[in-house]
Amino acid sequence: MKMNNTYLMSALWGFVGAVTVSGVLAAENPNVFNRLFTPPDKAVQTINDDGIHDPQSPAVGVLQEPKQAFAPLEKSISGNYVDWTKSLKKQQINPLFDYQDPAKKAQPMNLNIVMEVKGSTPDVVFPHDIHTELLDCSVCHPQVFVPQKGANQITMAEIMLGQKCGICHGSVAFPVSDCKACHAGKPAEKKAANKETKK
């Protein structure tokens, strides 16, 4: 019995030791496995500790925490880590179309614009559908985008610097790291189309 106890204790201490050592190593090892700039659990702090809110402000504890607001919504890979389109379609959120008249509904226009892209990157499929669910035509046309197919030459550099699509995508709507959200054309179709042009 005493023998058993000793074994048990040494096994337990061995376990505790292993945990402590690995914990210390993780804290001090500069080559910890992490592909992201920010570990996901550190991505969004509480308002009290997010670096821009004043912890002394009376707003802390009164304002809604993002984590709490996003908990029931569809997840995505970047931005707010919320798939706003899916959340809207599934009616997890019901944002009003008119701030004075809750009964007023959007009249979505179902028109996809396919924008051809160089190289093997899938073409961009721009859905008017979700954009007209959320916006008026006049927000984008004609100041930001000329309402004519092929009239808008857009580069990723422009988008990342906050021009064209980047006015929203990369500041409040999903950012460029979610490539396939826009580059949604089918690669197979694209390859076929490229072959045809070469002939």
Binding site: H53, L161, G162
Partner: protein, 121 residues
């Protein structure tokens, strides 16, 4: 995380789309405004503010001041005690650390142009 002279300096980790407005606040010696864009988009579609209320789609570009809000423009269209809480709750908007520059927090542009890190306590 970089440690220099006793301060731990880390980039701010607030929510994507938190909009800081500091056109006039620092000069008026009040905390800058943080507008939680994500909070509002859950409740209203983009069109209500960026179409009907005339908010420009760029942080700080609408040049909002308290006079405009009192007159029912911009934030004042809802924050009037009828649709949303009224403007006497100064601290709920004016809640940023003093000196925080106007920004769309975590925007691609901000990340690319490497903003000055904010001191963390």
């Amino acid at each position: 995380m970089i440690t220099t002279a006793g301060f731990i300096i880390a980039p701010a980790q607030a929510e994507y789309g938190d909009i800081v407005l500091n056109n006039y606040s620092d000069d008026a010696e009040i905390r800058p405004v943080i507008f939680p864009h994500w909070f509002h988009r859950i409740r209203y579609r983009c069109k209500t503010c960026h179409g009907d209320l005339g908010f420009k789609i760029k942080a700080g570009a609408s040049e909002i001041n308290m006079l405009k809000i009192i007159n029912g423009e911009y934030c004042g269209a809802c924050h009037n005690g009828k649709i949303a809480w009224a403007m006497e709750n100064c601290d709920l908007c004016h809640s940023a650390k003093p000196g925080t520059p106007t920004q769309a927090h975590k925007s691609s542009k901000q990340l690319l142009l490497a903003p000055q890190p904010i001191e963390k306590k």
